[in-house]
């Protein structure tokens, strides 16, 4: 008798119909916030910042080589992370921006990284610049570097980090992003090690987050996952973070970039 009651209760509460409807409504919400997103304001500010002379050398970033040659922004984001000979290192967008700030503008690494993650009242320079540079790759297929030995190494390291269990709660990235059709609260969890899930996600980062009205970079996304995994903090633009980003972006290869996106 109890079991019958339970079955009825279960049917009422957890019918797939309800779940399907909720999922559809949340997709509608996400579509609507993307349509009404203020993300272009960040792209505008980023463009102004890109062209603004700064640092001891009082030069802008307009001569920064993002991989397509000095000053070429069009399509550059979609090819990152990639190996840069001048730095002998695989770099993602933020690492490369930091490189240009120190080499071109003559700024110290310490000064340039003092405030890499902003807040709602004062977004960071990295956030504005990421918005602008990424926006210039809209429509270009994601193609992170995979040919140089260091690019291969970064991919393998990123993959190992993705499945590495440690931290105060014994978690790896795969603890949340390893199984299909799972949620945290109402938030759907993409299986980032599988192309079909990684593609739409990587094609829309960096992104404006409506929950706190802030523009967020991929470096922040990785940083905040580790915070919630109860790890110590990954250093900004460190090889570990770039390796993870490389693994994720290579997994998403071929997807046309359509960000910066708008997230919950």
């Amino acid at each position: 008798m109890r079991w019958l009651q339970l079955a009825i209760a279960g049917a009422l509460i957890c019918t797939p119909v309800f779940a399907q409807d909720a999922k559809k409504e949340i997709q509608k919400y996400q579509q609507m916030i993307a349509d009404g997103s203020p993300v272009e304001l960040f792209e505008l500010e980023g463009e102004a910042l890109w062209k603004k002379p700064q640092g001891p050398n009082n030069v802008s970033l307009e001569k920064c080589d993002l991989g397509h040659g000095a000053g070429v922004v069009k399509g550059a984001y979609a090819r990152l992370p990639r190996y840069f000979k001048d730095a002998d290192r695989v770099m993602d967008l933020e690492a490369r921006l930091l490189h240009c700030m120190t080499t071109l503008q003559g700024r110290s690494r310490e000064e340039a990284t003092k405030r890499v993650f902003g807040n709602e009242n004062q977004p960071s320079e990295m956030e504005y610049l990421s918005a602008y540079v990424a926006s210039q790759s809209r429509g270009v297929k994601l193609a992170a570097g995979t040919s140089h030995p260091k690019e291969k190494e970064a991919y393998e390291l990123g993959k190992a980090l993705f499945f590495h269990r440690a931290g105060g709660w014994d978690m790896s990235c795969a603890s949340c992003h390893g199984e299909e059709n799972k949620r945290i609260r109402m938030q759907e969890l993409p299986v980032m090690s599988k192309p079909q899930f990684a593609r739409p996600i990587m094609a829309t980062w960096p992104a404006y987050r409506v929950s706190n009205s802030q523009f967020k970079t991929m470096q922040w996304r990785i940083n905040d996952c580790f915070r919630q995994m109860r790890y110590p903090e990954p250093k900004f633009a460190s090889d570990a973070t770039i390796a993870l980003n490389t693994f994720l972006t290579v997994t998403a290869a071929g997807e046309p970039y359509r960000g910066p996106g708008t997230k919950r």
Binding site: L157, H164, G167, M186, P232, E233, K235, T241
Partner: protein, 194 residues
Amino acid sequence: MRSALVFAICSIFCTAALAQDVQKVLQRDFQARGQATMDRVVQDGLQRLCTDTNDRPPGDVARQLEADQMKTIAFPAGNLVGDWKNGERIAQNGRGLQWTDPAGATGGGSCYNCHQISPQETSHGTLGPSLLKFGWMRGSGPEMQRYVYGKIYNAKAYNLCSTMPRLGHSGTLTPEQIKDLVGLLLDPASPVNK
């Protein structure tokens, strides 16, 4: 035949070599912040085994390590069913142990992030099983109380590579808080069992 052998050897040594690299990378590329200290990136035995075996450890080794984890649980004497109302608050609370949380402050269990618990809370995760009607189905006798307390205190004592954090063992929750969560799941008055 030979390639199979090479593959077998590599699957043992190559992953081991990479695990070493990852340890080194974590030491180099992470930094302590707030209460999140660097000792947290040093894998303990079970984290290492679960990583190396993709969460499928050999049965005998798993049993042994589970037994070790069981020894970490100090079961309080007497009734383990605490205040379910407080348990509900703890289940809702997603803070604790992060570098943004003050050290020593009482956090929560983040339970709703992964589990359905009280039917009123529709914003629940699905990484863990639904706990709806948990006590109603299983009763709330001493054995069940002990099982729930133990599972929350150290989930790895029951399933070595479980995704669930060791909430008591890691210092996320106090014994009192865990008893309140036992109350949330087992108390007949709790909304979970209505």
